[in-house]
Symmetry: C2
Subunit: 304 residues, 2 copies
């Protein structure tokens, strides 16, 4: 158990470094394939909003899921970078004054603070658009049919029936607190959809049969719910210094969370149960699944 | 000549109606393929920002280009609706207080006025994301290879090296007016890229050889430049009542335009020349190209 934890940590760091290298190279001021150089100011804002450290958990999940099922590591890395672009767009737009109005992210000024609001909106729009470019580009070594599946699943995970819809529900929740079912739907869409996509996309890259794809999707769903519970617990117990952003903010705004509704004991038990269910789901893959199982435990701990 | 103009007008109206019907159906609150219903409030904002009349010029160009080259009309309609979603996202975000700060569009309140700023940002994000969903969806009857070409070309036309980059240059131009070359680059990216994509996408849908694709792309480029010149001329000569938005706004902000730089006489001659060049480009297709040629003349007139 300790061994797989050590290996997990090493692989997570290694994957984050590889993701950053490709992200950085793809976010240069010029690009093959574009006729006109991209505006340096806009690219700087996109880099500010994406090359700011971070564990790169979503690309890691995608790459490990693809590795588990025998998918191309080149295609998985590119799909992972695309997913990270999309994740970073969502953070930039969520931080805007009209949304969560956050000045800090990971201890650094948010994009609209470091640049301006218009540039932050455009940097987010551009990262979102670029995610689809990266997947579809000829440099991604994957059959067109599988690229198409990735584009479709990512668009569904991120769109009005996924992450963006979840953010809309989250804004509405400030005015009228949802009930328990409403909270679960909101969280499944807002934070769960991309984590679920990350795991499912690994199976898509590998061209796996639908049973594997469904299993990875379900795994992603469980860890998505766990992620949100751990985040809500962290929000209650952390302070701003360790979190790098304003703590207790969600609770102060009166946003309903399952932790607030059922208490911390319940939440910790539920978190353990979800993690065990996720780990169990991958048992049929045997030792090959150890790293993904360790990732599920890591998400539940959030001891970072 | 009069006959093709009459037929053009009829087909443009007919195409706009068909585009609206599909757009409206795709922007319903629920959708097959999504697991969770989309938030009605968000969908209402997306509809407000997209189902507001308009000539649907971009889908028309795409559909006519596909028809010229023998492409599937079903796929062309869906790709056209996707393109219109993307165009409407750009209008919603451009209208935001941090951007052009417009209260009216086509005589109606803009999305952030009719709803709120956060909802307008999310509605734009969602329309952008949904554009890729519509192309990739199994309902679009097109080979995966061609869908992939559409996704890639659309992402390039809309991203940091295309429309979004052009909008970033436009914002920068308010502080430091660009020279003539800078204005052409800005306009080629900001308004030209989607018009060029519209024409090229028709050739992609038809799976045409690269010579046809290049010809249509060049046609799109010419009418893109013409479109912007006509728009700048209109901005100088119109008043708010006929335009449905604040007139003379670009000039008042000191944004450089080619019309301002070279005068109206020069601009009208240049507009005629671009239109004739565009018309000539399609001469090899004979009578089949009459409608697209008429569209080029319509864009130059902007008598609406």
């Amino acid at each position: 158990m300790t061994d797989s934890k050590t290996e997990f940590e090493m692989r997570l760091r290694q994957s984050a470094a590889e993701t950053e290298v490709m992200l950085s190279s793809l976010l240069s001021d010029t690009c093959l394939g574009d006729e006109i150089a991209r505006p340096p100011h806009l690219m700087a804002a996109m880099r500010h909003g994406s090359l700011n450290g971070g564990k790169r958990l979503r690309p890691f999940l995608l790459r490990e899921a693809a590795a588990l099922l025998g998918g191309s590591s080149q295609a998985a890395l590119r799909a992972g970078v695309a997913l990270e672009c999309l994740h970073c767009y969502s953070l930039i737009h969520d931080d805007l004054p009209a949304m969560d109005d956050d000045d800090l992210r990971r201890g650094q000024p948010t994009v609209h603070k470091a640049f301006d609001e218009a540039t932050a909106i455009l940097a987010g729009d551009s990262l979102l658009t670029y995610a689809f470019d990266i997947i579809a580009a000829p440099e991604t070594e994957l059959a067109d049919r599988l690229k198409m599946e990735l584009v479709l699943s990512l668009a569904r995970a991120a769109g009005p029936g996924g992450m963006a819809g979840g953010q809309a529900l989250d804004l509405a929740a400030e005015k009228s607190p949802p009930d328990e079912a409403g909270i679960v739907i909101l969280q499944t869409m807002k934070t769960g959809a991309l984590l679920r996509f990350a795991c499912e996309a690994g199976a898509i890259v590998a061209g796996s049969p639908s049973a594997d794809r469904e299993r990875l999707r379900l795994f992603g769903q469980k860890i998505g719910l766990a992620y949100q519970l751990a985040d809500d617990l962290l929000d209650l117990t952390s302070d701003a210094a360790t979190l790098g952003k304003a703590a207790g903010k969600d609770a102060a705004r009166g946003k309903g969370t399952l932790v607030g509704m059922h208490g911390m004991d319940w939440a910790e038990k539920r978190l353990d149960a979800l993690t065990e269910e996720a780990v169990e789901l991958l048992a049929p893959y045997g030792e090959k699944a150890l790293i993904l199982q360790e990732t599920a435990r890591f998400i539940a701990s959030r001891d970072n």
